[in-house]
C-alpha cells in the first residue's frame, strides 16, 4: 500500500461545525509544506467516535487523534504525515465494541450469490458436521458454546436439540422462526436479506443433529425481499448438493420449505407458530408437551430463531469454546440489537454479552441527538421493560435484564429521552399487545384491554390512585394466569415504567401534567402575549368559550374551562398560542 497517498480524515464529533474549517486548515498546512501531493484531506461523515471534539485519523497508518486543536495540526503533519510517528498527547485507541458473528457476512457477501458465501467459508460447518457424522458431538459443541435462544426466552439451544434428538420418531422437524414482529426490531430481516445461507446452513446442521429430514422457514409475509433471497438461497444450495437428497454426497438428506406468516405477532410463539403452519388459527396451546416432544403435526420439532441458527455454523467451524470465551458467565456469545429511538446512529449492532448500556448508547450509538437528556432504554419490545439511566452500567445479559424488570427479547433497543412520556410509552407497548392478543385466554384478552383503558384514562388526566391499584392487580393476574408468553409479559412495559417512573404517573394523576408533553389531553394552551395581534380568531373559534378578552385587553385562556381541543392553536395565524406543559 506504500504507493497510496496518505489520507487525513477529519471530523468534528462534538457539534460538526468545525469539520470544514479544520479540513481547510489541514489543507493549507499541507500546501504550505508542499506536502499536498503526499496526502489528501477528506471530511468524514462519521468516524465512529463521539463527543471528543475534532477527531483526525491518518490512513493507512490508522492513527486516530481526538480533541485536536488548531495548534496540534502542525505537529500531526510533522510527525504522522512527513514521518510515520505519532503525537502521543492526543492519540486515541478507538476500539470497536462490536463483534460480528451473526452479522459476519452482512454487508460483505452478495446474498443472492452462493459463491460469495462459500468464499467466506460458507457451508464449511456443514461439511465438518457431515464428516464427523456424530449427532451427539454436534450437540456437545453447541452445549460447550453456551448458546441460548436469541428469540427472547434464552433457553439453552443444545437442550432443545437434545430433547428432540432423544425422541424416538421417524419424522422430526426443524423450524426457523422468522416471524419477527417486535416494534423496532429488524435483526432477523437483516440476516435473512443479507446472509440467508448462514441461516440455511444452521438449519441443515440442526436438522442433522436432531435427526430431522425436513425443515420450515416461517417468515412473515411482510418481508418480501427476505422471502425472495431465502428462496434463492434454497435453490442455489440444492444445485450445489448442499440441500436435498444426499447432502455433500453423504446419506444425509434434508429439505427446506418456506411458510409465510400472515402478520400475527402471536405466531412468533412456538405453539401458535406450529398451529399456523398446520393451517389452524394462530393460537397458543398449553405447554407441556413442548414442541421438542410433540410439535408440528404431532412430531418432535425444534423451533429456533434466525439469530440462533446464524450462530450455529461459526460455532461448528471455530468450536464451542471459542464462543464461550465471549460474553458473561451465563450468557455467552454476542447479541444483535436494533438500536433505534432517540439515538444519533440508529443501527443494527452485534455486541458481546456483558457490554453495558452506556457503551452501546454512547460509544456505538453516538448518544442522544440535540443535546437532550436521556431517560431510559427499552429492551424486549412489548414484552420488555424500560431501564432507566441509573442502571446503564449494568452488563447486558439474560439474567441482569430480567432482574431489572425487562427481558433480552429478540433485540429491539429503543432509546428514550426527556421528550418521551413513560405513561405514553407504556400505553404504546400495551396497545401493541392488546391488538396482537390472539383472544384465546381471558386474562390476556380482557385484562390487556382493561389495562389499556386505565392507562388511557391516566394519560387523559382522568386517573386516580385507584387506577394504579387496578393496573397492579390486573397485571399480576395476567402475568400469572395468561396462557402464553404474550399475555404473561404484556404488563411488563407498564410495570417497569411504574417501577422506575412512578413520578410521571403521579404527575398525570395528581397534577394533570405530562412533563414530556406527549399526552395531548394534558396540553396546556396559552396565549403568547408578545406574538398575539389581538385578532380575536381564537376566541371566536373556541367551542366552549374558554377564551376571554378583547382587542384592547388582549386574550386569555381560562384553563378550568379549556377542553384541550386545540382549535385555537390550529386557527391562530401568528403562532401566538402555545401548547405543551406549563
Amino acid at each position: 500500500m506504500g504507493k497510496l497517498k496518505k489520507i487525513i480524515l477529519v471530523k468534528d464529533t462534538a457539534n460538526n461545525k468545525e469539520t470544514v474549517r479544520f479540513a481547510e486548515l489541514f489543507n493549507s498546512a499541507l500546501r504550505d509544506r508542499a506536502l499536498d501531493e503526499q496526502a489528501q484531506v477528506v471530511r468524514a461523515a462519521d468516524i465512529n467516535i463521539y463527543n471528543q471534539g475534532v477527531v483526525v485519523r491518518i490512513m493507512p497508518s490508522d492513527i486516530t487523534y481526538v480533541n485536536v486543536n488548531e495548534k496540534d495540526i502542525d505537529m500531526i503533519i510533522r510527525k504522522s504525515i512527513k514521518n510515520n510517528d505519532i503525537v502521543k498527547e492526543i492519540l486515541a485507541k478507538p476500539e470497536d465494541k462490536q463483534i460480528r458473528i451473526v452479522l459476519r457476512n452482512c454487508g460483505n457477501v452478495d446474498p443472492e450469490n452462493i459463491e460469495d458465501y462459500l468464499a467466506a467459508d460458507g457451508y464449511l460447518g456443514l461439511k465438518k458436521v457431515l464428516e464427523l457424522d456424530d449427532r451427539d458431538k454436534v450437540i456437545e459443541e453447541i452445549k460447550k458454546s453456551g448458546l441460548r435462544g436469541r428469540g427472547g426466552g434464552g433457553f439453552p439451544t443444545w437442550m432443545k436439540w437434545n430433547f428432540a434428538k432423544e425422541q424416538d420418531n421417524e419424522t422430526k422437524f426443524i423450524i426457523c422462526n422468522a416471524d419477527e414482529g417486535d416494534p423496532g426490531a429488524y435483526m432477523d430481516r437483516s440476516v435473512l436479506e443479507g446472509d440467508p445461507h448462514t441461516v440455511v446452513e444452521g438449519m441443515i446442521i440442526a436438522g442433522f443433529a436432531i435427526g430431522a429430514k425436513k425443515g420450515y422457514f416461517y417468515i412473515r409475509a411482510e418481508y418480501p425481499l427476505a422471502i425472495l433471497r431465502v428462496n434463492l438461497a434454497l435453490s442455489q444450495a440444492r444445485e450445489k448438493g448442499l440441500l436435498g437428497q444426499n447432502i455433500l454426497g453423504t446419506d444425509f438428506s434434508f429439505e427446506l420449505e418456506i411458510r409465510l406468516g400472515a402478520g400475527a405477532f402471536v405466531c412468533g410463539e412456538e405453539t401458535a407458530l406450529i398451529a399456523s403452519i398446520e393451517g389452524k388459527r394462530g393460537c397458543p396451546v398449553p405447554r407441556p408437551p413442548y414442541p421438542s416432544v410433540i410439535g408440528l403435526w404431532g412430531k418432535p420439532t425444534v423451533i429456533n430463531n434466525v439469530e440462533t441458527l446464524s450462530s450455529v455454523a461459526p460455532i461448528i467451524c471455530k468450536g464451542g469454546d471459542w464462543l464461550a470465551k465471549i460474553g458473561t458467565e451465563k450468557s455467552k456469545g454476542t447479541k444483535v440489537f436494533a438500536l433505534t429511538g432517540k439515538i444519533a446512529n440508529s443501527s443494527l449492532i452485534e455486541v458481546p454479552m456483558g457490554i453495558t448500556f452506556r457503551e452501546i448508547v454512547y460509544d456505538i450509538g453516538g448518544g442522544v441527538p440535540d443535546n437532550k437528556n436521556i431517560k431510559a432504554v427499552q429492551t424486549g419490545g412489548p414484552s420488555g421493560g424500560v431501564i432507566p439511566e441509573k442502571f446503564f452500567d449494568t452488563p447486558i445479559d439474560y439474567e441482569n435484564l430480567q432482574n431489572l424488570g425487562s427481558i433480552m427479547g429478540s433485540g429491539g433497543m429503543i432509546v428514550m429521552d426527556e421528550d418521551d412520556c413513560m405513561v405514553d410509552i407504556a400505553k404504546f407497548y400495551l396497545k401493541f399487545c392488546v391488538d396482537e392478543s390472539c383472544g384465546k385466554c381471558a386474562p390476556c384478552r380482557i385484562g390487556g384491554k382493561q389495562m389499556l383503558d386505565l392507562l388511557t384514562e391516566i394519560s387523559e388526566g382522568k386517573g386516580t390512585q385507584e387506577h394504579i391499584e387496578k393496573l397492579k392487580t390486573i397485571s399480576h393476574t395476567m402475568q400469572k394466569a395468561s396462557l402464553c408468553g404474550l399475555g404473561q409479559t404484556a404488563p411488563n412495559p407498564v410495570m417497569s415504567t411504574l417501577k422506575y417512573f412512578e413520578n410521571e404517573y403521579i404527575d398525570h394523576i395528581e397534577h394533570k401534567k405530562c412533563t414530556a408533553g406527549k399526552c395531548e389531553s394534558l396540553y396546556e394552551y396559552k396565549v403568547i402575549e408578545e406574538k398575539c395581534r389581538r385578532c380575536g380568531l381564537c376566541k371566536r373559534n373556541c367551542p366552549v368559550d374558554a377564551i376571554v378578552g378583547d382587542k384592547d385587553e388582549g386574550y386569555k385562556i381560562i384553563q378550568e374551562k379549556c377542553i384541550k381541543c386545540g382549535k385555537c392553536y390550529e386557527v391562530c395565524k401568528f403562532e401566538a398560542i402555545s401548547r405543551g406543559n406549563n
Binding site: A442, R445, G447, G448, K449
Partner: protein, 581 residues
C-alpha cells in the same frame, strides 16, 4: 401409580392425569369455566391456575399433567384473588343481563360469580353489541354472551367433525361465529346442538318455541296432540331435582295433559313402527338381496343432514324409513285423525324431543308433508318443556302417574331404547331376527351394542348367518365406519358391516343437544340405564309384539313396506351443499 401431594394430602394417581382430575380424587374442586369433562382442555379461562411448591409460576390445572412427587397448592389467598380478578374481568366483558337470559339460574358463569361473592363490577364495561343469529330456527347464537371458553368450537370441530363454528377476529374482538362469518344456516351446521349443550353461558341456546306452543294450546280451534321422545323421560327429572336417569314417563303424561294437550302419545310407539319398517327393509336387502348393504339407520336428523352434506354418495345405504317423530306425526294426521274423526287441518302435533335438529327435520323434505299437512307442527326440546311445566305452575314432583292415550301411546321395550346409542340397532335386531327366523328370541338383549364406546363393532348370528354390525355415536366417530365401508367397496372386499347405526350426539339421544345441561359420560350412562330398565319392565320387548302395532298394520297400513306405508312412512335423501349462499 405415581404419588404426589395436593394441599398436603398425599394422593396416588395414574400418570398422565391432569392436576384437575387428580384433585377430584381428594375431594378438591378446582374451579374452571372452560374445561368440560367431555372435551380436551382449551385452557382459555385461566381460572384453574394452581401453584407448585417451590415455583413462582402458576400452572393450569386443566391441562397440566400431575408429575410424580409434585406438591400442588390449589387454594391460597393469592390464587383466590387471581381467580376473582379473572372472573371480574370476564364479567366486565359480559352483558350481565342475567334476569333476561335463558341460562338464568343454570349458568356456570353466574354460579362461579356467586361462589366468589362478587358484589361489584370493579372494571369498566367492555361489551360489544353483536347480532343474534337465529337463522337455523333451531339453535340461536348470541355471541355477545360468549366468554370465549371455546367448548362449542371444540365440540363442533373435534367431537362432531362439522367445523361450522370457529373463532373470528382476535384480541378483545374475538368472537365465536360460523366460520367465514356467514349465517349459521349457510354453514355446514347439522343442528345437533352439542354447542348449546356445552356452552357454560347463554351464548348458544335452543331456538325457543314455547310461546308458539302456548298459542296453539290456547287456541280453541285447534286440536293439540303431543308426543314425547324416548330419551326425554329419563332426563326431564333433572329439571325438577330428580337424579339423572329417573324414569318419569307417567308424570310427563300427566303434566302434558295439565298443560292442555288434547291427546298424549308416546314417540316410543312410532319407534316401534320405525323398527317394523326398517327391520323389514333390512331383511329385504339382507335376505332378498334387494338394495345395497350395509343398511344405515336414519332416525337422527343431524346425522341425516351430515350425510347429505358430506357423504351424499352413501345415500343408497340409507334406510328410507322416517324417524319416529315423523312417523308419529304423519300417523296422527292420517290414522288417528281418521279413527277419531278429527279434521287434520285443525290438528297440531307438538313433539317433545331431546334434540335441536328435530326442529329442522319437520320441514326437511316434502315427504314430511305426506299426510297432506306438515306432519309435526312444532318441536320443543326437553329444556323448553321443563320451562313450560314450570310456567304452568304444575307441581311436577307431586303429580300422580297417568297413562298415555290409546292407539299410539303404548310401546314395546324396543321403542324405548331408541334413546340410547345402540338402541335402534338392538330394537331392529329383535324384529329382524323374528322376520327372518319367525322364531321368538330366547334373549332379547344385545349387550354388545350398548355402552359409550365411540364405535361398537360386533356381529350376531341369525339362522346361522353372521350379521356384521357397527354402532357409532358422535359424528366424529362416523368417519372410521364410513371409511371402512368405502374402502371395502372400492377394493371389492367383503362388506365390513351389514347394518350400521349412527346417532349424532355422544351417547345417542340421552346426550342430545336439547337435554338438560351438565351432561357428562357418567350422566349419559345413567340416563341410558333408565331406558334399559324401562325396556326390561315392558310387557312387550319387541316392536312386532306390540298389540297396537299389530292393530295399526291390520287396520291401516296393511303391512310393513306396503304401498301405503311407503307413501306415508318413508322419505328420500338428496345431496346438499356444505355451504349455502
Amino acid at each position: 401409580m405415581a404419588k404426589a401431594y395436593i394441599n398436603n394430602v398425599q394422593v396416588e394417581f395414574e400418570p398422565g392425569k391432569t392436576i384437575l382430575e387428580v384433585a377430584e380424587q381428594v375431594q378438591v374442586k378446582i374451579p374452571t369455566l372452560c374445561k368440560h369433562e367431555d372435551l380436551p382442555a382449551t385452557a382459555a379461562c385461566g381460572i384453574c391456575v394452581v401453584k407448585v411448591e417451590g415455583s413462582k409460576k402458576m400452572l393450569r390445572a386443566c391441562c397440566t399433567a400431575l408429575e410424580d412427587g409434585m406438591k400442588i397448592i390449589t387454594h391460597d389467598p393469592e390464587l383466590v384473588e387471581i381467580r376473582r380478578t379473572i372472573i371480574e374481568l370476564i364479567l366486565s366483558n359480559h352483558p350481565n343481563d342475567c334476569l333476561t337470559c335463558g341460562r338464568n339460574n343454570d349458568c356456570e358463569l353466574q354460579t362461579i360469580a356467586a361462589d366468589f361473592g362478587i358484589r361489584q363490577e370493579s372494571f369498566n364495561k367492555i361489551t360489544r353489541k353483536l347480532p343474534k343469529d337465529s337463522s337455523t330456527k333451531t339453535i340461536e347464537l348470541e355471541p355477545s354472551k360468549c366468554i370465549g371458553c371455546g367448548r362449542c368450537i371444540e365440540v363442533c370441530q373435534n367431537v362432531q367433525n362439522v367445523w361450522a363454528l370457529s373463532f373470528l377476529e382476535r384480541g378483545i374482538n374475538t368472537r365465536m361465529a360460523p366460520a367465514g362469518d356467514i349465517k349459521l344456516s349457510e354453514s355446514p351446521c347439522i343442528r345437533c346442538g352439542q354447542c348449546s349443550a356445552h356452552c357454560p353461558t347463554g351464548a348458544i341456546f335452543e331456538f325457543d318455541q314455547t310461546r308458539e306452543v302456548w298459542r296453539e294450546l290456547l287456541n280453541p280451534d285447534t286440536y293439540c296432540v303431543v308426543q314425547i321422545a324416548p330419551s326425554v323421560r329419563v332426563a326431564i327429572g333433572e329439571g325438577f331435582g330428580y337424579p339423572p336417569g329417573t324414569n318419569l314417563t307417567k308424570k310427563i303424561y300427566a303434566a302434558l295433559r295439565r298443560l292442555g294437550f288434547n291427546t298424549v302419545f308416546d314417540t316410543n310407539f312410532s319407534a316401534d313402527v320405525t323398527i317394523m319398517e326398517e327391520a323389514s327393509e333390512f331383511v329385504e336387502r339382507f335376505v332378498n338381496k334387494k338394495g345395497v348393504l350395509p343398511l344405515i339407520t336414519t332416525c337422527c336428523p343431524a346425522w341425516v343432514d351430515f350425510m347429505e352434506k358430506f357423504h351424499s354418495e352413501m345415500i343408497e345405504h340409507f334406510s328410507s324409513a322416517k324417524s319416529p317423530q315423523e312417523i308419529m306425526s304423519t300417523l296422527c294426521k292420517t290414522y288417528y285423525a281418521k279413527e277419531n274423526n278429527i279434521d287434520p287441518a285443525k290438528m297440531r302435533v307438538i313433539s317433545i324431543m331431546p334434540c335441536t335438529a328435530k326442529k329442522y327435520e319437520i320441514t326437511r323434505t316434502e315427504e314430511m308433508f305426506a299426510s297432506g299437512y306438515q306432519g309435526t307442527d312444532c318441536v320443543l326440546t326437553t329444556r323448553e318443556i321443563i320451562r313450560m311445566i314450570k310456567q304452568a305452575g304444575i307441581d311436577f314432583n307431586s303429580l300422580t302417574d297417568e297413562e298415555p292415550d290409546h292407539l299410539m301411546g303404548d310401546y314395546s321395550g324396543a321403542g324405548t331404547i331408541f334413546g340410547a346409542t345402540g338402541g335402534v340397532m338392538e330394537a331392529a335386531l329383535r324384529t329382524a331376527h323374528h322376520l327372518i327366523t319367525k322364531e321368538k328370541l330366547s334373549k332379547v338383549e344385545f349387550e354388545n351394542v350398548r355402552g359409550l364406546k365411540g364405535v361398537k363393532e360386533t356381529s350376531v348370528s341369525v339362522n346361522g348367518i353372521e350379521v356384521k354390525i357397527a354402532v357409532a355415536h358422535g359424528i366424529g366417530n362416523v368417519e372410521y365406519v364410513l371409511n371402512k365401508i368405502k374402502k371395502a367397496k372400492e377394493n371389492d372386499d367383503p362388506l365390513p358391516y351389514h347394518f350400521v347405526e349412527v346417532m349424532a350426539c355422544p351417547g345417542g339421544c340421552v346426550g342430545g343437544g336439547g337435554q338438560p345441561y351438565g351432561v357428562t359420560d357418567e350422566i349419559r350412562a345413567i340416563r341410558a340405564k333408565g331406558l334399559y330398565e324401562d325396556d326390561a319392565n315392558c310387557e312387550a320387548r319387541c316392536s312386532h309384539d306390540n298389540p297396537f302395532i299389530k292393530k295399526l298394520y291390520k287396520d291401516f297400513l296393511d303391512a310393513p313396506l306396503s304401498e301405503k306405508a311407503h307413501h306415508l312412512l318413508h322419505t328420500k335423501y338428496v345431496p346438499r351443499p356444505e355451504y349455502k349462499k
